[in-house]
Subunit: 276 residues, 2 copies
């Protein structure tokens, strides 16, 4: 499984973005056709600065190129992922019964403090990305998408962002603020407990081989909602290191072999509906 | 161990802040004197909008009131915690050999997206606070304080913020950005590996009883750098629930009893130099 992943919408005008998405997705399809022993499928890049073009490219990628999902970023040109105009995409992906990969985005131009030109010490990516994932998950969970399309499947990056580590904080904070601070939920009506919405997500294993973190994610999402991902090639050894360390990290998890097999392969087969 | 915790500097003019800090710290001292069976010490609130007043109150609290540390927030009126004018405080606390408690701060007026008046779904606290802790830790680690005062002891809230879950991401990102992206560290010269600076911190156990998260924190910080804290009274049962669940969470950790005793008591005795 592979995907290209450029956030086209932030740098291109809508017409160029649509064309770039087609080129990227076509190249990906060629790559898969050429190396069926190495790639079992791909997820589509979408021109999200034009929702109609994004919907059309989704159809083309899934129907014509046989792609098995789409990728979006944690904000859409600065707008939250629960913006009303995005609902048709969620409706469509729920109907296809294929997942959305949710990828975080923030650049070092998001400064950490007023008066500073850029983010220092790689904070924008090291912590900013998992934070953006968590924020986007909150918007999908409580802002409409997962309430309106409860069968929608969203895979969230970096082992679920901050949710597995802080889920009891979320629960306690929700209870505290409702019961003692008079907080009133400011989104759609919830028909499930808040944490149950976060449990609807799937998390990947891209946490660079941190086994205790993987155990924490496993504890929250469970064996059926965790899919292997390596974050390749983002390391200093052209991808060798992070692939090796992520595999080793999952192998070191204190879980039964059936669960490990789910994480390494079975869940992905089911989620992306792969014929292999 | 207890502390008052108002972030005085953000709401008061310097003169009022200094007076409020004195009142708060005096009341805390009275409380401890009145209930020696319940409280073994306290940490001081400081009027951080006037560093000279904050330094004077630090001396008064530690020398006259026998306080065992001070509390600061993750930003000082919007400025980062490695601002040069704060260095005398770090120097002083390193000289006293007593810890700084680092508490996160962000209100719902920090909106998550442009065009929205406030943060939705409690994101500002649920995820924003641990994010602010992580950001402040990066600034203390790489912006000067921990390099200039390597014996300084800082206790970070909510089980170390995002560090224990994402530390391998930090390491990989640092290696990747240095070796493949030409990133040049933009702070003080580092004389240790980046993660070793994060390991200089002490983390607390205020993660609301999430045992896998505590194991993750333990894996990163080790048995000697983890101190029990309950986050009381922030729950919907006037503090009963979070205290109970945090104790249970630590009791459920798969560690030896000597390590558990360190977390529950010995580390705090050593860190705050308590005569009990």
């Amino acid at each position: 499984m592979t995907f290209a992943g450029p956030n086209l919408e932030s740098v291109l005008d809508p017409k160029d973005a649509a064309e770039c998405a087609r080129i990227a997705n076509d190249e990906m399809a060629e790559l898969i056709a050429k190396h069926p022993d190495r790639f079992v499928g791909a997820c589509a890049s979408l021109p999200m600065n034009d929702i109609d073009a994004a919907l059309a490219e989704t159809d083309r990628a899934i129907r014509d190129l046989r792609f098995r999902g789409v990728e979006i970023f944690t904000d859409i040109n600065g707008k939250p992922v629960d913006a009303p105009e995005l609902m048709p995409l969620y409706e469509k992906m729920a109907a296809y019964n294929l997942p959305i990969l949710l990828h975080p985005r923030r650049t070092n131009t998001t400064a950490d403090y007023e008066g500073e030109p850029t983010s220092k010490y790689l904070v924008y990516t090291n912590f900013g990305w998992p934070y953006e994932s968590s924020l986007a998950m909150a918007r999908l969970a409580f802002g409409g998408p997962l309430q309106r399309f409860p069968t929608l499947k969203v895979v969230t990056h970096h082992a679920g962002g901050m949710i597995p580590y802080f889920h009891k904080r979320v629960q306690l904070s929700w209870d505290f603020n409702e019961m003692r601070m008079g907080y009133r939920h400011d989104g759609q009506m919830l028909t499930r407990a808040p944490l149950d919405y976060y449990r609807m997500f799937y998390c990947d294993t891209a946490i660079q081989g941190n086994t205790p973190a993987l155990m924490c994610a496993y504890d929250f999402f469970g064996a059926d909602h965790m899919v292997f991902a390596s974050d390749t090639p983002y390391d200093n050894q052209l991808g060798e290191r992070v692939t090796r360390e992520t595999i080793e990290g999952v192998q070191a998890m204190a879980i039964d072999e059936a669960s490990r097999k789910k994480i390494f392969a079975d869940n992905a087969r089911r989620l992306f509906r792969l014929p292999v």
